[in-house]
């Protein structure tokens, strides 16, 4: 079973990577971009041996405790 976890900076947190990309876009000839925020995308394979609630609990814990720093980031879980 595949699941995707998307980690993004909280809207209140400055994103040096996103703003650097944004700043350089015009130099590359991309006009009309108002902003860029960069995040992380994890594709995770979960064992089929786990039942639905076990899978959900596992991914929730993984996303909250490891993949995200709650001081600056938030996450979204997308099941296939």
């Amino acid at each position: 079973m595949n699941v995707t976890v998307i980690v993004t900076l909280k809207p209140t947190v400055l994103d040096p990577q996103g703003s650097t990309i944004h700043r350089n876009l015009e130099a590359l000839g991309f006009f009309g971009v108002d902003g860029v925020r960069q995040g992380k995308h994890f594709e995770i394979q979960i064992s089929d041996d786990l039942d639905r609630s076990e899978r959900q609990a596992l991914v929730e814990r993984l996303a909250a405790d490891v993949l995200t720093n709650p001081v600056i980031e938030e996450y979204r879980i997308v099941w296939e």
């Binding site: 947190v13 400055l14 040096p16 650097t20 490891v66 720093n69 001081v71 600056i72």
Partner: protein, 231 residues
Amino acid sequence: MKFGVVVFPGSNCDHDCYYAIESVIGKPVEFIWHQDTDLAGFDAIILPGGFSYGDYLRTGAIARFSPVMGSVREFALKGGLVIGICNGFQILMEAGLLPGALLPNIGMKYVCRFLHIRTETVTTAYTNALEKGQLVHIPIGHGEGNFFTDEETLKRIEDEDQVAFRYVNAEGEPTEAANPNGSLHNIAGIVNENGNVLGMMPHPDRSSEGILGSEDGKLIFDSMVHALTVV
């Protein structure tokens, strides 16, 4: 009095810290492997700079799950002295032992140079050998040292005198130009509420004797020795 320097896979300032304590400060020091959990006999723990576990995922994010960190947490909660330098600071934040987070530097540049920091509080175990407002000439070398926290926490650490050091210019002013990485309020180092855990991006280990360009960093280790002696 015994210091311990934790060695993670990817630490690269562990020997600098060991050398500073053993040869410059002249106190007993031992390396602590990241898989060890026994901190008995240690009076102060140093988390050195480097790229622990390759800094994959986030700086310090994997290191904080290593076996030694459970013991470091207990040690810190019991009031033991724990100093995190550079990557060590990042690890302490990921472990929740210090408030806030360290973002990539503004402008995404790795910054490696000497600068000045100003001593903001002298009541901690890390700054008692310094005077309030004293400038410390010290190097930084990091790509992710941009101190960030929410406004409420920022106000709290300012109000509670938890800011240990601020980036300043040679005149001692915390200007925007003196801020090498975009840190909020030019913050270079903070202590926890009890004052026994310090995290800082600049390297006292790389500025503890004249031949390195500055011996100001030694004052931070001297403060620790003083604090441990008085206790």
